[in-house]
Symmetry: C2
Subunit: 363 residues, 2 copies
């Protein structure tokens, strides 16, 4: 049997984020941006990255209705019936449940890898190998597998997964002992020192059967809300059903609803140059730097006495700067941000301020 045809990928690309304002805006969130000026958006790179492991016809995108036009523009190879349009934002658990029901209706033997759409992976061959080995593992039984990234340092911006006992016959796969929320720096340092803790990358593998069984048991209110007669999922009746019932789902993440509660949860520890690109700092740390430790994106710079800074622009701009230490300089046509990188947590509030003072056009 060619198992590859039972292998599916769900890419969650409905998120809205303004942490990278002014680059990411409500009408153009991060996953749709050509973040590195390579000509491909993070979403396009995510699709390219999974293609060696999953056939393109088995890639399912879950997004918000308002982004359909961007997705069709960026991913013409994905057929319409593989694009699931959420009528409302309900976090990741309802999204995962719907996608699993959709896929299960087409293929009860399906195994699924679920991916965020806006992360970065530097070592694609290692990534593909990890995904393939993960599929091999979840095809063997009723198991929920998450990938755990070997920490490169005591990062406080990620949740951690503590590994338990090793799985026989599956090197690098362990029982999960605990999920831990974003720690403070002392905790993070301790975690890294033990060697037992890994970053939670939000990459999951399971069979459609296993995850639906987990929903039935651990999040029955979602399972029941999305419960439909046999002829709904993967048929023309599906959109109307979803439009009516999906908004009734509780707003909860897959981690809270399932992973932290389930007993059959495993972690595969991996190391493939991953970043969630969740912060300017993360972007800075994963990007190549010049000799003064500055990072440039889509711009040309003449810098004197600048260090530890990231310069990002649209449209191949020239940036001339002096005397900036540890700064974000981010320029779009409409807005310019010049901000200390260590205060970037304030950007969320600033964006709210911009919205209230200058209107939605700028966020």
């Amino acid at each position: 049997m060619n198992t590859m045809n039972h292998r599916y990928c769900v890419i969650m690309c409905g998120g809205v984020g303004t942490r990278f304002w002014p680059f990411s805006r409500h009408d153009r969130p991060k996953q749709f941006l050509d973040f590195f000026g390579t000509g491909k958006s993070l979403l396009q790179m995510t699709v390219d990255r999974i293609c060696p492991s999953v056939s393109v016809d088995n890639i399912i995108l879950v997004t918000n209705k308002e982004y359909l036009h961007i997705i069709k523009e960026q991913l013409p190879q994905i057929k319409d019936s593989n694009i699931l349009l959420e009528p409302a934002r309900r976090n990741t658990a309802p999204c995962v449940c719907w996608a699993a029901k959709h896929i299960y209706a087409m293929d009860p033997d399906a195994v699924i890898v679920t991916l965020p759409s806006d992360h970065m992976v530097l070592k694609e061959p290692e990534f593909c190998k990890a995904i393939d080995e993960g599929f091999d593992f979840v095809e063997k039984g009723n198991r929920l597998l998450t990938l755990g990234i070997k920490p490169s340092g005591p990062n406080t911006g990620y949740g951690y997964i503590q590994q338990g006992s090793a799985e026989k016959d599956f090197p690098g796969i362990f029982r999960v002992k605990a999920f831990v929320e974003k720690p403070n720096i002392e905790m993070a340092e301790m975690f890294v020192a033990t060697g037992e803790f890994f970053w939670n990358a939000g990459i999951f593998l399971w069979s459609a059967h296993a995850i639906l069984e987990a929903f039935d048991k651990l999040a029955p209110e979602i399972a029941q809300t999305l419960d439909a007669p046999r002829d709904v999922y993967a048929t023309p009746k599906e959109p109307e059903f979803i439009d009516r019932h999906f908004p009734d789902c509780v707003n909860i993440s897959i981690d809270y609803a399932i992973m932290e509660k389930a007993s059959n949860v495993y972690v595969k520890t991996v190391e493939f140059g991953w970043s969630d690109l969740g912060t300017w700092k993360a972007l800075y740390e994963t990007s190549p730097r010049n000799s003064e430790g500055n990072v440039t994106q889509n711009c040309q710079v003449i810098l004197s006495d600048c260090s530890g800074s990231i310069f990002a622009a649209e449209g191949k701009k020239i940036i001339v700067a002096a005397g900036l230490k540890d700064y974000i300089v981010a320029d779009t046509g409409k807005a310019l941000l010049i901000y200390p990188i260590n205060e970037e947590q304030k950007i969320r509030n600033i964006v709210n301020d911009v919205r209230s003072r200058f209107g939605e056009d700028f966020v």
Copy 2:
């Protein structure tokens, strides 16, 4: 006799400057910019400012050929025959001499005020009063008059004029004792303390006859180079004559060629909120500031912990910044400058660097 019809204005608007890069560029120097976001360029403001004193038909513009299209766009009220197109850049003396010959050919009784095109005047009524009084003075005889601005502080960016004995019957007008080049700070402080020194604003008044006589005597090589048969100036033959002979003129300023040598030079001391806008610092100092001492131009800002800085943009941009003290932030579509205001003298070298690395398009 209505003397106003003999009153002329020459506006020199052929200069090229990159000190305000990225705003001022070779193909769009400072005088053509809407510097304050008011909808009018500095040149347009200069024309508006002189209009109470000089009829629009008596306003002569001297510029470089390459800027003709901008001038026709910005000043449709100026007729073509009043636009003198220099075939080459030869500093201010040849420009002044040509304009005087052109005007003298039309009106031997003409008196002329010569103005730079890219300065700022805050108190226009006082400016007009000074110009009118200056015309009254130079109409009385063979005199070269310059305006001297009462210093607001020991500025080292301007040349100074030292006043001599007062002219009877003309309050505020003095013989010039000396022209002094840009001083160092100790000298400038001494100048200001004496009360005898005034900034040289490059604004001159004289009769056409008086200045041409001065050229004959003090800069005969220019006078002779531009000497033409009677039917050339202010006739269709003028452009061809100028194209052939003007480039042969020496490159020298009116201050060096005439003012510092002439014996009939007077200064009228004035105070009308003047700045040559020659530096970002000068622009900063003449612009209204918010409570943290920041200046904004054509942008909206959200600033925290910023002071002593100037934020200038095109296209009504939003600028969010933190932690900048005494900075220039200047943004155009193509380039962004973030530079300590006290190091702005380095900008000239940077522009050369930009030119050599990225090409003329950016300067």
